[in-house]
Amino acid sequence: MSSSWPPTVADTVAPGPASTADAELVGALRAGDEDAYLAIVGRHHASMLRVAMLFAPTRAVAEEVVQDTWLAVLDGLHAFEGRSSLRTWIFSILVNRARRRGEREARSVPLSSLQDGVEPGTAAGDAERFSDEPSSWAGRWVSHPRPWAGRVDERLLMAEVQATVRAAIEGLPPAQRAVIVLRDVQGWTAPEVCLTLDLTDGNQRVLLHRARVRVRRALLEYIDGD
């Protein structure tokens, strides 16, 4: 078992309630603390954009939605009661606005887009090779994956590995991309993601699985290509 498992997750709070860190942040925002504001904007911007892109017809519209969301968040701060975590509250505002905007743009994406990669038969990237030859058990590996044994670990901070992972994420279908970014990059819990994206536990896991399979494949190709 790898010593780096499970990955450290800074904030494993379930959908609610808000933490003391959230309360402090809300206080700082209300007090007009620009550094605190830029920090929270910076932390969530990229994932907000990806979630908005689930509903918005174009990236430009998604960017507008994210911007409008921050205004709505600031206007609503006084009403934030901490029954949910600050981030799930922010993302619920985002999803509402993105959904409305998507509907107005006459593009009823949500269902189809959130289903991508959930329906059977779309496990692209899961093209492992198994053999059913009767010398040992059926459905076994043709050639064994070998542990990377730190080959990724020691190079995690290398720009090339990061670029490989980022490119793999960008190449995912939108729903897989939103789920893997929130879960594995941002460290959200499964319940938070299900709540925010209105996914069942099972669908969330399928999307996460498909996404991880593709990112692993990209890393494998990078490592083998050395």
């Binding site: 504001y37 911007h45 205004l71 459905g139 994956p145 990059v185 499964a190 896991r205 692993r216």
Partner: protein, 88 residues
């Protein structure tokens, strides 16, 4: 053609099946009996152990991505919005 020489896979799960269950395993959402079979297979199969290791490394790599920089124009617009909001 019936293949009667086929050995049952360890844990009664084939590698192909195990690979499809990896995320459920890591999410700790496999039922007790299935988890036991999964682990029995893992203990006997180098290939699947290697695959699981790679999936864990993948998740670690994802978790260590540095935050993306906020584009300068976005930063400027959002900061502007914050200042306007404060003055209200």
């Amino acid at each position: 053609m019936a293949i009667d020489r086929t050995v049952p896979p360890p844990g009664g799960i084939s590698c192909r099946e195990l690979v499809a269950l990896v995320t459920e395993y890591l999410e700790e959402s496999l039922s007790g009996p299935l988890r036991t079979r999964f682990e029995a297979h893992l203990a006997a199969c180098e290939g699947c152990a290697g695959y699981l290791d790679q999936m864990r490394a993948t998740v670690v790599a994802l978790g260590r991505l540095p935050p993306e920089d906020l584009p300068a124009d976005v930063r400027a617009r959002l900061l502007d919005a914050f200042r306007t909001w404060q003055r209200r």
